[in-house]
Amino acid sequence: MASSKTITVEVDNVSYTDDVEPRLLLVQYLRERLGKTGTLIGCDTSNCGACTVHLDGVSVKSCTMFAVQADGHRVTTIEGLARDGKLAPLQRAFHQCHALQCGFCTPGMIMQSASLLEENPHPSEQEIRDGLEGNLCRCTGYQNIVAAVRAVAEGTVSSDSDETETAGVA
């Protein structure tokens, strides 16, 4: 049995120190050790992007990284995106634009969208689509996801998290 390693990782603003087997993937560490089940696993070949989190502020696939590699780093998951009880603009936008159905790709989509907007705050439709190439969705056909990202970029997301109706369909 391979020897375990002690790691210290800041996840969603909380610092954790744990002994982990080197083979433990970051996504498994998040889900199984920290109970951060908001980050999901959709494939085993780094294609679907459901497991996307931020490592030191940029998007990575947490299924394609060992937890030991995150030692000393800062991880943000979908569970850490809302601040002070307020949803992040992308979270509100996904709701307001009906950018999710079954919700399984959603955490990864939102985390990748956030990284995309960080790097390119005013993307064109094509740049949004290209920026989401590493995230698969089987429900939405992507159109409303693109609309949600665009809404954040254009600042047209309603700030009211409790909004229950949309005026128009994307």
């Binding site: 307001q96 009906h98 939405t140 159109q143």
Partner: protein
């Protein structure tokens, strides 16, 4: 009436937990003492199992037990097929863990039970299985020859042959007359490639055997059917099984199944007495979850020189794969009634031969039989147009049912209640800019532009709202097609709706809330929808076949009607009026001709306290209803695609996609729009990207998302969608169903567009998916065989 809820673009109630990561997918569940399973799967497509040595695996660290087929042979039963389409249908026994023989690569031969998922996975490597290889049959047309058998014990690869003949059924003329008298006869063979549903959430099952009842959490579309089938298969009293479908990450028919892995997890929990979890990897999912489509369609269409279709003869080979799953055998039959589509030709024959091969078994995938049928007829209409030199729209117009001809009984024997194909088509043409695109197409042809333009048309209908129980009975399906609902009135006047159609992304919580808010005059926010747990929702037939609103939604409305009737009695009593004088509107009961009224909430509290109720009145407003539809519903629409083909590389791009769908009355336009978008993506994926490919040994080559090409955001176009609204007359709401429309309509629209772009270069057909290499090869072949360039 205050603002009607039905028709409003309400944002979804179910989003909040999904956008914040508070999701409850099955794999998120951890129970005390829970053990983890890993499956040992056959690498061979067809082999005898001569020995299974589990000694090393059993002594591997963390392993608690190993189950082989022999260990559970006496208790595992045979997984169910609920649709024996003919009395003499042949089917092999289907053990959850293979005992003597495996019939496809990926079949489970042993199950490791361990303290961690890692320990279980490690021990998989240590199980030593000896196989004796058997010859494999993989190709459908080869399977029909019966030279190599997928199951030697059956003596044939043929499971069943099912025939519909309009002459014999009395719904039309004999096909022979039409074919013999044809002025124009079009004969084509189309290949519906094998697809993999590819829901984003891999299947997962957790079973808790502690306590007196077994609780099963599963990523399933069908908690109710699963409960019944697990009970029957594993000989457990149904009352001792509770099934919960928590958040479920998509299904598309792929989770309309009773899986070996679900049964094995129950067996493992039974053997160990501990909670057990199995979550498949994506590779396992692609290999061993059921596939879809996989048919060869041989078609003959007869017509007059004017393009009036006189008959259609359909001969299908349908690939069952290695076993019959829950409704495997019936999938082609669901298509049998749709080949005539929106057209009114007089003669029709359908014959389907279901065949076994050594591949993963097939079953429902979005549309299930109907996309195949729609593809075939819509491709044939284009072929007819090309043969006669007519515009494909013109050919369709000459044959479709006119709006004034509804209700219309089709040559397949269905009664279409309503529709307006003219209106949907007119709207689509306007949005599309048809004439301008045709003009551009001519210019590109004349200038020999390397990028050619094609216009793809698909005018479709489908049968939704599965299904009238009597019809299912006539087709020999093992269950009915009703749905159940309960509407509960809480003391505060808040409402709980319990529905038998459990949602896995469709937005039932939101839509049902809208229905009930309107019906009972309560705020949308005050309605809570409960589903997906057989202990809460005891009766139900679950979610598939675009049935939820038209069947499940009607049950909800019927239950709400009963609530009103009950409450009316209490209202009359409290206001000292006759029941006949009580009227209900906007959530208030009023006495006719007076200003006296009382709110539903007050009645709710009065009923709860029960201090002052009419004599003999049971203090409870809660009501149940079970709705069995009397007919299917028939959404329809017109889809138009402008397709660019790069003749140098064979690459196909979708420049414009316009669809006008008529799904009847719409409860929530936002949700309907989303269903259409997602459906389009999957239909386009069949046309251009996806195919499950096996090598000659029967190993799945497209065994991961590296090779099974689920399209991403850059690979799909922006869709222009619109609606017309012709209410269905078969349910009180006028709704028709929308879950499968986009998938059914878009595949032929795309392929017709591809062919329209290159037909003038001599290309006659391209097999799906129309990949660049296939399109290029077709262009090259056309050059060789004298296609005009």
């Amino acid at each position: 009436m205050t603002t009607a809820e039905v028709g409003r673009a309400r944002l979804r109630k179910e989003d909040a937990h999904l956008i914040t990561g508070r999701s409850r997918y099955t794999d998120n569940i951890t129970l005390p003492g829970m053990l983890h399973l890993a499956m040992v799967r056959s690498p061979f497509a067809h082999a005898k199992i001569t020995s299974v040595d589990v000694a090393a695996a059993k002594s591997s660290p963390g392993v608690v037990a190993v189950l082989t087929g022999a260990d559970v042979a006496a208790e595992q039963g045979s997984l169910p097929n609920a649709w024996p389409i003919t009395p003499d249908q042949k089917a092999p026994a289907h053990p959850a863990i293979a005992v003597d023989e495996v019939a496809f690569a990926g079949e489970v031969v042993a199950c490791i039970i361990a303290r961690s998922a890692a320990a279980a996975r490690d021990a998989v490597e240590l199980v030593d299985v000896d196989y004796e290889g058997l010859p494999v049959v993989l190709d459908l047309e080869e399977a029909a020859k019966d030279q190599v058998l997928a199951h030697p014990g059956l003596g044939t690869n043929k499971s069943a042959t099912w025939v519909f003949d309009s002459g014999e059924a009395g719904t039309g003329k004999p096909i022979r007359e039409a074919l013999d008298g044809a002025e124009v006869l079009i004969e084509r063979t189309f290949y519906q490639q094998r697809l993999i549903p590819s829901f984003m959430e891999p299947r997962s099952t957790v079973v808790d055997p502690t306590g007196e009842q077994i609780t099963v959490w599963s990523a399933t579309q069908i908690p109710h059917i699963l409960r019944l089938m697990l009970a029957l298969t594993l000989a457990i009293p149904e009352s001792k099984v509770r099934v919960i479908a928590p958040d479920v990450g998509g299904g598309f028919g792929g989770k309309l199944q009773v899986t070996p892995e679900e049964a094995i997890t129950v067996l493992a929990a039974r053997h160990t007495g501990k909670p057990c979890k199995y979550t498949e990897t994506r590779s396992e999912s692609l290999m061993a979850a059921h596939h879809g489509r996989a048919q060869v369609q041989r078609l003959k269409l007869s017509a007059t020189k004017e393009g009036i279709v006189t008959g259609l003869d359909v001969s299908l080979l349908a690939d069952m794969g290695a076993y019959l799953g829950l409704v495997t055998s019936g999938i082609p039959i669901l298509g049998a009634f749709m080949y005539n589509s929106i057209y009114k030709f007089p003669a029709y024959r359908f014959e389907c031969t279901n065949l076994f091969t050594n591949k993963a078994w097939t079953d429902a995938y979005r549309g299930a039989g109907r996309p195949e049928a729609t593809f075939a007829i819509e491709r044939m209409m284009d072929e007819l147009a090309a043969e006669l030199g007519l515009d494909p729209l013109q050919v369709r117009e000459r044959n479709w049912i006119k709006h004034e001809e509804f209700p219309f009984t089709t040559v397949a024997g269905l009664e279409y209640d309503s529709g307006n194909y003219e209106a949907a088509t007119a709207k689509a043409l306007e949005l599309f800019g048809y004439d301008a695109l045709r003009a551009e197409q001519s210019r590109r042809r004349e200038t020999k532009d390397p990028v050619q333009l094609g216009i793809g048309i698909s005018t479709f209908t489908e049968m939704c709202g599965l299904a009238p129980s009597r019809v299912l009975g006539a087709l020999n399906y093992g269950a009915g097609g009703w749905e159940h609902a309960q509407v509960r009135v809480l003391p505060t006047g808040n409402i709980e709706v319990v529905t038998g159609s459990s949602s896995h992304g469709q937005g039932h919580e939101t839509a049902w809330s809208q229905l009930v808010a309107d019906k009972l005059g309560v705020p949308f926010e005050n309605v809570e929808v409960l589903h997906g747990d057989t202990q809460i929702s005891q009766r139900g037939l679950d979610t598939y076949g675009s049935r939820s609103l038209t069947v499940g939604g009607m049950a909800v409305l019927a239950a709400a009607d009963k609530v009103i009737e009950k409450a009316k009695v209490v209202a009359a009593h409290l206001m000292e009026a006759s029941e006949d004088d009580i009227e209900f509107a906007d959530g208030r009961f009023s006495v006719k001709g007076t200003d006296q009224s009382t709110a539903l909430g007050e009645i709710a509290l009065a009923t709860f306290s029960a201090h002052n109720l009419p004599d003999g009145f049971e203090p409870n407003l809660d009501s149940d209803a079970t709705f069995d539809p009397q007919n299917f519903s028939f959404p329809h629409g017109t889809h138009l695609a402008a397709i660019e083909v790069d003749t140098e590389t064979g690459r196909v791009s979708i420049r414009k996609y316009v669809c006008v769908d008529d799904v009847g009355v719409v409860v929530n336009p936002l949700i309907v729009e989303g269903q259409v978008h997602g459906g389009l993506a999957q239909g386009i994926a069949q046309a251009l990207y996806e195919e499950a490919v096996y090598d000659d040994a029967g190993t799945l080559v497209t065994g991961s998302f590296v090779d099974y090409l689920v399209p991403g955001a850059p690979d799909l176009p922006h869709y222009t969608t619109a609606r017309t609204e012709t209410p269905s007359t078969t349910n009180q709401l006028g709704a028709k169903g929308v879950g499968e429309a986009g998938t059914i309509a878009s595949t032929p629209a795309i392929v017709n567009g591809v062919l329209d772009a290159v037909r003038h270069l001599g290309v006659k057909d391209i097999r799906m998916p129309c990949s660049p290499s296939r399109v290029w090869a077709a262009l090259e072949e056309a050059k060789m065989t004298g296609g005009v360039r």
